[in-house]
């Protein structure tokens, strides 16, 4: 599709064949589409829900919202358990999942994430177990606070996981995805709080959800404006539909959360708002996942920007590096 820069101008690039629309090999993708299945966007959602819930639990614990703290701890433990199951299930060789802890590599966000999770997950389980049983309260609070410190990392590293790939839709959005993902995590954790706890005790959850939705909408807007041609993969197709649905659910849920803060809404209304926030967060993660897949499938997203980069590099000063890449 992108016909930019076709008029030659590059060294040694004489037009031998009148240029047709052939900018790829039979329209086949240049990079491979991810082999990850729905387990991974599910994990993006659940990991975010867990991470932000742990932060919320720590904050609620310290500020005396103990009912909310207990719900958030339980939610974090449940979400991270499901997360781990999804991650192992998605492996090609699940029996070898422990090989994740064979080395530690900062160049591999998945390696970093595996180590963070292996520290974080036991803390959330301990915090939840103590909160539910009432046993070892001091250790429980300590685990809550430690999980609260790791929670933001759990919620944000997954953006680096996607950004550090060759899928144009993910890589080109590597600056914005962390804010979208932490925003989405906050939305989900806030939503869970609204579902689990009566409104009068869920103030922090409602406020966190409103902030989360605002961050999500801002980050999505930035992706749309700043990442170039790959933004189209976020606007169109299944990804576009999912992301629009996520926005609608998020805004609806945030409005419900706002109402819960201002008035005394019915329990049903608060639960519905919370459910909308949770669903919106999940749908957004699936949308981002789909955008990456779609951007890898169509070679125009790979070839177009690279071709443009070469054109820019070769045009300005005469005698620019005579790179032989083309």
């Amino acid at each position: 599709m992108p016909a930019g820069g076709r008029r030659g101008g590059e060294k040694g690039d004489k037009q031998v064949v009148p240029q047709a629309e052939l900018t790829s090999y039979y329209g086949l993708p240049v990079v491979k589409e991810t082999v990850w299945g729905p387990d991974i966007p599910s994990y993006l959602f659940l990991g975010g829900l867990a991470g932000a819930s742990s932060v919320l639990a720590a904050g609620a614990q310290l500020s005396g919202y103990l009912e909310l703290a207990r719900a958030a701890k339980t939610g974090a433990a449940g979400a991270i358990s499901l997360s781990m199951a999804a991650l192992v299930h998605d492996l090609g060789r699940p029996a070898r999942f422990v090989n994740m802890l064979r080395v530690f590599k900062v160049t591999s966000p998945m390696s970093v994430g595996s180590w963070v999770l292996s520290g974080y997950a036991p803390l959330t389980l301990a915090a939840a177990a103590s909160a539910i049983t009432g046993k070892l309260p001091r250790a429980g609070v300590a685990a809550t606070l430690a999980a609260g410190l790791l929670g933001p990392v759990v919620a944000s590293y997954t953006a680096v996981l996607l950004g550090d790939t060759a899928a144009p839709g993910w890589h080109e959005a590597h600056r914005e995805l962390p804010y979208l993902f932490t925003g989405s995590a906050a939305t989900a954790a806030g939503g869970l709080g609204l579902v689990a706890v009566p409104s009068r005790a869920a103030g922090p959850a409602a406020r966190l959800a409103v902030l989360g939705v605002a961050a999500e909408l801002t980050a999505e807007r930035l992706i749309d404006r700043r990442i170039g041609p790959a933004a189209e993969a976020y606007r169109t197709g299944r990804a576009g539909a999912l992301l629009r649905a996520g926005q609608l659910l998020g805004v609806t849920g945030a409005a419900g959360a706002g109402a819960a803060l201002l008035g005394r809404p019915s329990r049903t209304a608060a639960v519905l708002a919370g459910a909308a926030l949770l669903t919106g967060s999940a749908v957004t993660r699936f949308g981002v996942f789909e955008a990456g897949r779609a951007s890898a499938r169509d070679p125009k997203y790979t070839v177009g920007p690279q071709r443009e980069r070469l054109r820019e590099a070769s045009s300005p000063p005469a005698g620019a590096p005579g790179s032989s890449v083309t």
């Binding site: 990079v31 932060v55 060789r93 591999s108 790939t165 590597h174 804010y179 590096p321």
Partner: protein, 306 residues
């Protein structure tokens, strides 16, 4: 001939590369292989490829790579379609139907003077893993299954790979894949087993026209420079090297090519950049976002108090 390895400093510098940039550095030395043999690779000269697919067959046979689906693609003589977990050499066929000016004395010309085939140009090219100097697959592998060998090549250790699939999404060339049958990631090993015994890789051995040349990378780069000049002087100014420049986005490929058209025509990315070059910036943004989440939670918990 290149300098004997024993006389090289630990971090040999390639001519033309800036000394304090990583690009020209020897990847085997960086990976901790001291006193290693010279870095080896492939120079695939597509101008003499005849599309016989002996490389595809030799690779399959030597490496016992399983069958990867039998399909009729409709893409010229290419029913292999592309590199994957079970295809480590792939011969592309591109039919270009337009008048191709023939250089004087072109041996393709029909001796009888019949020029009726003059409007077809057939490009053939045997693609393979690039064994990048800065290899994204290796960078992102969480288990250490992907490793840098003493020859400077990149190999998957099948007994360690847990099939996470990260390398598949990270490769800027779409080379490595995950095999359905065993769940593991697989790609060209540059015949690691043969190298150890002083043999050249099976594809290069089988290539009848020497389109696939194997050898120390330094030497191959020199050979390729001469060859591209030769082909250009012979009336093919569009000839170009692809992946031969250590200053490119992957630090130069261990397997590079002479092409007769733009890389994307062959299904290759025109300007690949290893994704991990942006990783420091990604971690920075993730750190700021994480701090933002913590701050938001603090604000949310204090909000109702005042």
């Amino acid at each position: 001939m290149s300098t004997p390895e024993a006389q090289r400093p630990d971090r040999p510098q390639q001519p033309g590369a800036e000394p304090d940039r990583d690009h020209g550095l020897d990847p085997a030395a960086r990976a901790g292989h001291l006193d290693h043999p010279p870095r080896v690779g492939f120079f695939t000269d597509t101008s003499v490829c005849i599309g016989c697919k002996a490389c595809e067959v030799a690779c399959k046979e030597w490496n016992a790579v399983p069958e990867d689906g039998l399909l009729l693609t409709g893409m010229s003589y290419d029913n292999t379609a592309g590199l994957s977990a079970s295809t480590w050499r792939h011969v592309a066929f591109i039919e270009q139907s337009a008048v191709v000016p023939r250089p004087a004395g072109d041996t393709w010309a029909d001796p009888a003077g019949d020029d009726s085939d003059g409007d077809l140009r057939w490009l053939m090219s045997s693609d393979v893993c690039k064994h990048c100097t800065e290899a994204a697959c290796l960078d992102v592998c969480p288990t250490g299954a992907l490793m840098r060998t003493e020859f400077g090549t990149v190999v998957v250790q099948d007994d360690i790979c847990n099939g996470c699939g990260y390398c598949v999404s990270a490769c800027p060339f779409g080379v490595i894949g995950r095999r359905e049958t065993d769940g593991g990631a697989h790609k060209c090993t540059l015949c690691y087993d043969r190298l150890g015994d002083g043999l050249e890789p099976a594809c290069a051995k089988a290539c009848p026209t020497d389109s696939i040349q194997f050898g120390p990378l330094d030497e191959l780069r020199e050979v390729a420079q001469q060859r591209v000049t030769e082909v250009q002087d012979a009336g093919r100014p569009e000839a170009r090297l692809y992946g031969a420049d250590p200053a490119d986005g992957i630090g130069g490929a261990g397997a590079f090519f002479l092409l007769l058209d733009r890389p994307e025509v062959y299904g290759l990315p025109p300007d690949p950049v290893v994704t991990t070059r942006d990783l420091p910036r990604m971690w920075r943004h993730a750190g700021i976002a994480a701090a933002g989440l913590a701050a938001a939670a603090v604000a949310a918990c204090r909000g109702g108090r005042t």
